[in-house]
Symmetry: C2
């Protein structure tokens, strides 16, 4: 039983059946009724191949993320999948890892699957060297490319980003207002989002009349124990700091562990701020003040924008969502 | 440019092109060469529709999980996706939530997509009432159903499970050997895996001559703060316990927080054991002793079994993988 049988029996073209299946208004009520009656009579269920043949769409969106076991990305996948499903789209997930070659390979693989669009989840997909992003611009010539918390300027590319700059600027300003003068900044990556966060921190220091110090800015792998060990090493080298501001909760957990081991009182002697407001933020004692980066809103907005693109609407190429500061017990504010 | 153009130009049937694309040996070398030459000349790239038409396979596996933002399941998705990709299969991910109706709906949706198999990730997919599992047995009449850490007996259903019973039996025995007599057991779910864990705990107590006490066994949502609050409430009701054994790391994190707040020394006055050896286990001070449930091995084994099924091999319907105990600082062993 297939779409050809329906076509023959209903005496209409396959294109007409596609229109009926997809709710296209360019079918007369009479024809629609006949097609549906035949489908019912033959017990025909439209399947993905028929849809593919008829409309050249799989109603499927490719979702790429570097690593689904990262808590931030795992949440993003969850929300994207839910929102796509609510809009009657399936998702094909690719976990690409972090190498550019693999990202290119998977993007090309998704294109060969004729997905209707590709969502690049997380800021790790945009490279610093513009020529390394050409393959994305290239793909956007054929299908919409959606970036979740990444930004790339180009036709048919749509970004939804969290305002990481303002979030970091504001939290740094508040640390300074609460009396901190030597704010150690720990960051995990130099991505688009990573750069905005760092600039927010640096500008807030400068605007408050505090000269940024190279010695207070450190990169660290996204790992609790690496952060704890780095802070212990800096402490032993004699570096003084009265706050640890991080670009990810895992680093802030490491900071709380460091403080607990060295009997440094939080927040009296040391303030600690996490980022992403993940499950990590509740694990420590005291619990982490953290920046809620609104991952659910980012994903919902990404899918809404994509549906707008499909509907041919005039959609913004960049949507910015404000973060929230969640005050818990590791800051004085 | 499509498979029909190739068919016409090479003067072969679409079925023949499918055979060439899929490396089927029932094509003469001469025909194969002609088809490949025409594809090259026309610049034709085989796409998923063509494969679907020719062989009735999408080379795609449906992966269902209840919640990709759960750290255990997020890791499972990552490993399954990687192993499937290594075997040239794509995955369509569905996050089903926990209601039976939604699970049924998504399974039916994946079947309508003509996936080649469905992987049910996590023990939450098998219901206690046998009649609630009929839809899975039904689906297995058409395609292989793979269970990751769940078990259901039936034709064309393949389970890979962690030996949760032995893991919990052994860790309970070791807690008793290290001097614990009143082991509080916190569990999150009554699933297949959940039941095995609890029976392991109860049997180990009994075998050591310690009568299990109803008051020491409590269900708790998978949530750090819920666990902390439950333990505080039990403490205030006067319940005495010298160990907290949990079915998930998040509950063990809650136990460490409870102990820290009440100035109870770990492990001298209270032993704490986590389960799954997730990122949570490194967040606390002291760090959690935990059971490594070998999620990577479970996923690799699941995909290997599935490839065996596709190859028509004689594969086991149930594979059991032993857990490892990871000793850290919350136990005396």
């Amino acid at each position: 039983m297939n779409i050809y049988d329906v076509s023959q029996k209903a005496n209409v073209s396959i294109a007409t059946i596609s229109r009926v299946l997809n709710g296209n208004p360019n079918v007369s009520d009479k024809t629609r009724a006949r097609v549906l009656a035949v489908m019912d009579e033959l017990g025909y269920t439209p399947n993905v191949f028929a849809r593919g043949l008829g409309l050249n769409t799989m109603q499927t969106i490719g979702v790429m993320c570097s690593d689904s076991s990262d808590p931030y990305l795992a949440n993003a996948i969850y929300y994207l999948e839910r929102e796509l499903r609510n809009n009657h789209y399936d998702s094909i997930l690719c976990c690409t890892g972090y190498s550019l070659d693999t990202k290119k390979k998977y993007l090309s693989l998704l294109r060969s699957k004729r997905v209707d669009a590709i969502i690049l989840t997380g800021s790790k997909f945009i490279e610093l060297r513009q020529k390394d992003n050409l393959y994305i611009l290239d793909a956007a010539k054929e299908i919409p490319i959606m970036l979740v918390n990444g930004f790339l300027d180009g036709p048919n590319i749509y970004s939804t980003v969290c305002d990481d700059y303002s979030a970091m600027y504001d939290v740094t300003s508040n640390l300074i207002k609460s009396g901190c003068r030597r704010i150690l900044y720990l960051y995990t990556s130099q991505s688009y989002s990573g750069q905005n966060k760092r600039t927010g921190y640096l500008n807030a220091c400068q605007d408050a009349g505090i000269a940024p110090e190279q010695a207070l800015v450190h990169q660290c792998p996204k790992d609790v124990l690496e952060a704890k060990n780095l802070l212990t090493a800096l402490h032993e080298q004699g570096l003084r700091f009265d706050a640890v501001l991080t670009s990810d909760d895992s680093l802030a957990v490491g900071a709380v562990k460091y403080a607990n081991i060295h009997h440094i009182s939080i927040p009296d002697e040391l303030s600690v701020v996490g980022y992403n407001n993940s499950m990590f933020s509740l694990c420590t004692e005291p619990e982490l003040s953290s920046v809620d980066t609104k991952i659910e809103a980012l994903c919902t907005s990404t899918v809404n924008t994509l549906m707008g693109v499909f509907a041919g609407g005039n959609v913004p190429s960049k949507t910015t969502i404000a973060a929230d500061f969640i005050a818990r017990d590791t800051t004085k504010f």
